[in-house]
Symmetry: C2
Subunit: 246 residues, 2 copies
Amino acid sequence: MQRNIKLVIEYDGSNYHGWQTQPNAITIQEIIEGKLAIITQKKVNLVASGRTDTGVHALGQVANFYTQSTIAAESLGKSLNSLLPPDIVIRKAEELEESFHARFSARSKVYLFIILNDKIPSAIYRNYSWHLPFNLDIDKMRRSASFLIGEHDFSCFKSSDSENTDPIRDLMDINLFRNKDRFIHIRIEANGFLKYMVRNIVGTLMDVGRNKISVSEFNAIFQSKDRTKAGVTAPPQGLFLKEVKY
Amino acid sequence: MQRNIKLVIEYDGSNYHGWQTQPNAITIQEIIEGKLAIITQKKVNLVASGRTDTGVHALGQVANFYTQSTIAAESLGKSLNSLLPPDIVIRKAEELEESFHARFSARSKVYLFIILNDKIPSAIYRNYSWHLPFNLDIDKMRRSASFLIGEHDFSCFKSSDSENTDPIRDLMDINLFRNKDRFIHIRIEANGFLKYMVRNIVGTLMDVGRNKISVSEFNAIFQSKDRTKAGVTAPPQGLFLKEVKY
């Protein structure tokens, strides 16, 4: 009998070419599938809630796979952790009903983006934040972000190479708050994300924060649906896939 | 004329064999001295507040050096940061009076040790914490730690290979607190530290926290001045030299 196993996965994306298996590059999917094949003695196909790009981290990526193995889910998780490199950790493994699908069953995903807003860069946080040395007006960034809430066409924040994707997404929540003075945390929840969407939103919010564009100009860019009008793509190392909700 | 420059340095110790220059191993001192030689065009000798061991981090290590260079201190700091690898950052550079000595002028040093107290290890924090999966009674650890405050013989917490050092130190403060549920932060301030002293204190406090020894047994170990009675040496990656006070 086929069993359906759900994994909740934390990873440090620094040393990987993102989640999805690809030729000639080490990815997180490939590493976990390899260890699962050792444990279950069969080739395993992992389905994730979505890809994460090179250098992006996850606190709670979710993936599922079908197996005929009779090993209890919790034991599978422990065996995986004993075989996986320390920058990939299975936080939870559980057996679910056959219909559960890590991608299609997801109701929403939560991303966290961390800005290090300090004159001096940080040695410790260099792989886990985007260093921005100039003053940022977080209140203006908040007012701009509020335009994004709801069901909208997010074309202006898509990646330039993803023309054929439906650009409508329902963004449920976006919050910005300072953490320990020098960090700004941006938490975004949506029913789905276009490629680079969070990083493009953050890059454009930065332009508001440093007074390169106004709050109404931010909104005009958003309404234009024109990718070329928005700001830079924030770098991957500040981005964390925090949670997938089902 | 000789100028005396003080540096405040943050580093991620993960990729270094500690602070102090040694043969056949890359150290933080050697990296910074090399960049200073390029900038000032003279060999430079850096004096630090003290060594940090392999894998130990610093948020505020302090070092000073003498130079005949006329470059302003702030510019020296910026030039250093442009040459240094991203896991070593100069947070501040300032010119001080000739008598300032990073080691002998220090009044106290503050170390932070981070325990990840969670059933599951962490991919993101693996290099910045000590993972302890069992329950820890933080109140018992606090009561034990309070015995350490004041001027004492810390022989039981010295490294086994440091027999000839004066073991008397004045420990001004030790605090333990939970941070975001799964972390325990231990902050220790003293006028100086023996080799491995913080890590041996933390290893022995762990034994109290998991009820392997009682609070009074902890105190008996401390009073015995016998290194062989104390607990294990906690691993370096949880340790941060947070601040040096002058």
